[in-house]
Amino acid sequence: MKVLVGIKRVIDYNVRVQINREGTDVIKEGVKMSINPFDEIAVEAALRMKEAGQATEVVVVSIGPGAAQQQLRTALAMGADRATLLETDDEVQPLAAARALMNLVEKEQPGLVLLGKQAIDDDANQVGQMMAALWDKPQATFVSGLELDGGRIRAVREVDAGLETVEITLPAVVTVDLRLNEPRFVKMPDIMKAKRKPLETIAFSELGIEMPPRLESLGCEPPPSRSGGVKVDSVDALVATLKDKGVL
């Protein structure tokens, strides 16, 4: 079984993002970029399937600028077999991304598509569900436990009420949550080896996908800031302040 894993190049989760002076976008120049942490977990999950003899090939795909090759190389260094970049400098919104990934699914015919449950830049949490709809296949989202058994997957999902278990047949789309696994660190020799693994670049515009309506961005602003608080030096002062504020 071939596993297709989607990864997105995003600003590293440790960076404090800044809005540009025009208020149109966040500043991405000169900022550390990484694989979206949820997607890294998806890559790890695919690699473990391959190591367990459940998957035959792990293909990673990214939609983004040429520089996203770095993130694809990292995934190859982790152990993925080959990579495809659907290259574009434009912002690709979730429905367009889902259509583009479906284009690749038709070509690659994977048995399983693994994605992060959301990207930590736009926090949309949509692409996996949209792909599953367009593909007309089952989905298991927010997954923190995954068991592959022949043509079926038993998935444990993190939902508001607790942990939900569902069973789906393959092919399917699974989106992963943070607690599924801890991604491996890449080692130097693997980085060298990854340089020789195949990485194909396809211009996004040449996919010929029908572009859905776009949400128009009217700008960015910082969130309302919380006014600075006070420090108290004892439990008694804490209780008194809470009473003062009317919350006790």
Binding site: V17, Q126, G162
Partner: protein, 314 residues
């Protein structure tokens, strides 16, 4: 007036509070019909009908809808939404699972987590773990499909007279590739984290599952719900449904007490709308103090029992 369809999150008997809050947003956009997908979920449908802002409740009743499965509900929802200008769902895990699947079937882009309505086609939403707010507009002639950030809206009141409930039977064929197996809920009789007015939360600073009992005790003496940081969940002190933050629950209690939590941005995004934030942490430089209204620097193992005692005597 715009025709709005709101997807209800419920358990068959009652509505999830996310639904009553999302209805506040929905009602501001037009005339709202609430869609309740279930199997004999009459009670939940009636609960929806009893809310101010509900014009009609559509109870889509069939055995396959007994479990909240996106692959089954999304096609029914998309078909139902054809006649509406706006399709909304709460940003609960159920809403997040179903709505993008319906949006894709409708060929419409989706806005995730509306936090503010600017005008009938323009909305604010958080990105970058809530560190940036972006304003987006849905192009004309495109259906508005969106999830509603629960913490940004208050629950609607009860209606003077209940709205009509219509039971809808559909026989559209549904896929059988997805089976619901079980739900392991931590439950308990403590207040619900998402609607509680007071929340006490613990982090890695608690050090063990045993010590985390202190948090439950303090919460009980305050009548508060219990939350946790991701580190506390990862370490196995408490189950996942208690996690607060970017990947957990986004909450807006009047009082939030963070104990042994450093205040990482991914955690803080979950409590931006809280009324008063209290931080108890032994590290005076912990980022949590930048956002806390009241900070107390010190050892939680000393402070928490003292705090509980003060509440008991007070």
């Amino acid at each position: 007036m715009a025709k709005v369809l709101l997807l209800a999150d419920h358990n068959g008997d009652s509505l999830n509070v996310s639904t009553t809050r999302a209805l506040r947003c929905a009602a501001a956009l037009g005339e709202v019909d609430v869609a309740v997908f279930g199997s004999g979920a009459g009670k939940a449908a009636e609960a929806a009908a009893a809310l101010q802002g509900a014009n009609r409740v559509l109870h889509v009743d069939r055995p396959e809808n007994a479990s909240p499965l996106a692959a089954l509900i999304a096609p029914q929802l998309a078909a139902l939404a054809a006649d509406y200008d706006v399709l909304l769902a709460p940003s609960s895990t159920f809403g997040k699972d179903v709505l993008p699947r319906a949006a894709a079937l409708l060929g419409a882009p989706q806005i995730s987590d509306i936090m503010e309505i600017v005008d009938e086609r323009t909305f604010k939403r958080p990105i970058y773990a809530g560190n940036v707010i972006t304003t987006v507009r849905v192009p004309a002639e495109c259906k508005i499909v969106a999830t509603v950030r629960i913490a940004s809206f208050t629950a609607v009141e009860a209606a003077a007279t209940p709205a009509p409930v219509e039971t809808i039977a559909t026989d559209a064929s549904l896929p059988d590739h997805t089976q619901w197996i079980s739900l392991q809920a931590s439950g308990g009789d403590r207040p619900d984290l998402q609607s509680a007015t007071r929340v006490v939360a613990g982090g890695r600073g608690l050090g063990s599952e045993e010590s985390f009992a202190m948090i439950f005790q303090l919460a009980d003496s305050l009548g508060a719900a219990v939350g946790a940081s991701r580190a506390a969940v990862d370490a196995g002190y408490v189950p996942n449904d208690m996690q607060v933050g970017q990947t957990g629950k986004i909450i807006a209690p009047d009082l939030y007490i963070a104990i042994g939590i450093s205040g990482a941005i991914q955690h803080m995004t979950g409590i931006k709308d809280a009324g008063v934030i209290v931080a108890i942490n032994k590290d005076g430089d912990a980022p949590i103090f930048e956002a806390a209204d009241i900070g107390l620097v010190g050892d939680l193992f000393q402070i928490v029992p003292e705090f509980e005692k003060a509440l008991g005597s007070g």
